[in-house]
Amino acid sequence: EAGVAQSPRYKIIEKRQSVAFWCNPISGHATLYWYQQILGQGPKLLIQFQNNGVVDDSQLPKDRFSAERLKGVDSTLKIQPAKLEDSAVYLCASSLGGGFTDTQYFGPGTRLTVL
């Protein structure tokens, strides 16, 4: 079974530029999550989708971050404009359902460096 796919793996941009990340979850998984992992910290949830609807985006900085999951499968996360403090690894995860006991499976992440 293929795992969660993410691209690109690495991205370096200047501050105030825009950037987009792509995620393809495990086939059949209805729930998709985007996390931000700053160096030396645990992942922090940015947004959770159930199919193509948003379940939780309370920790998403909506003035600069946006995310979509148009057909309930792939998802993109965008940052516009980027700030220095956005330098982090962006992890995508998926789970079969959205239940509290469901295991989340993570992709390899995209390492973003903002200069």
Binding site: G42, L91, P108
Partner: protein
């Protein structure tokens, strides 16, 4: 608000010796608890979870964890560590759904780096 504490930034252990990675949590009501491992330049890999029932949970790669409600702990253990166990370990907690205010988020600790020396 729910939180997870991993009090040790790094744990050093000799190969073949027992490995313990500590985790304590704070949550309103009963918790669901998870352990993940992260190797360099890779995403998090699921090791095990506690939902209900037996306090001792067995997981992947010979790891196990013991849920202790009175001490609000969920320590990860392995009887005999391997050099290949060297990685970053994360504990995470989620509140059971009847506690609406706690939300649905999986909250992670800051991680513990494990170094197993030959």
């Amino acid at each position: 608000a729910q939180s997870v504490a991993q009090p040790e930034d790094q744990v050093n252990v000799a190969e073949g010796n027992p490995l313990t990675v500590k985790c304590t949590y704070s949550v309103s009501g009963n918790p669901y608890l998870f352990w993940y491992v992260q190797y360099p330049n890779r995403g998090l890999q699921f090791l095990l979870k506690y939902i209900t029932g037996d306090n001792l949970v067995k997981g992947s790669y010979g790891f196990e964890a013991e849920f202790n409600k009175s001490q609000t702990s969920f320590h990860l253990k392995k009887p005999s560590a391997l050099v290949s166990d060297s990685a970053l370990y994360f504990c995470a907690v989620r509140a059971q759904p009847r506690i609406k205010a706690a939300g649905n988020k999986l909250t992670f600790g800051g991680g513990t780096r494990v170094l197993v020396k030959p």
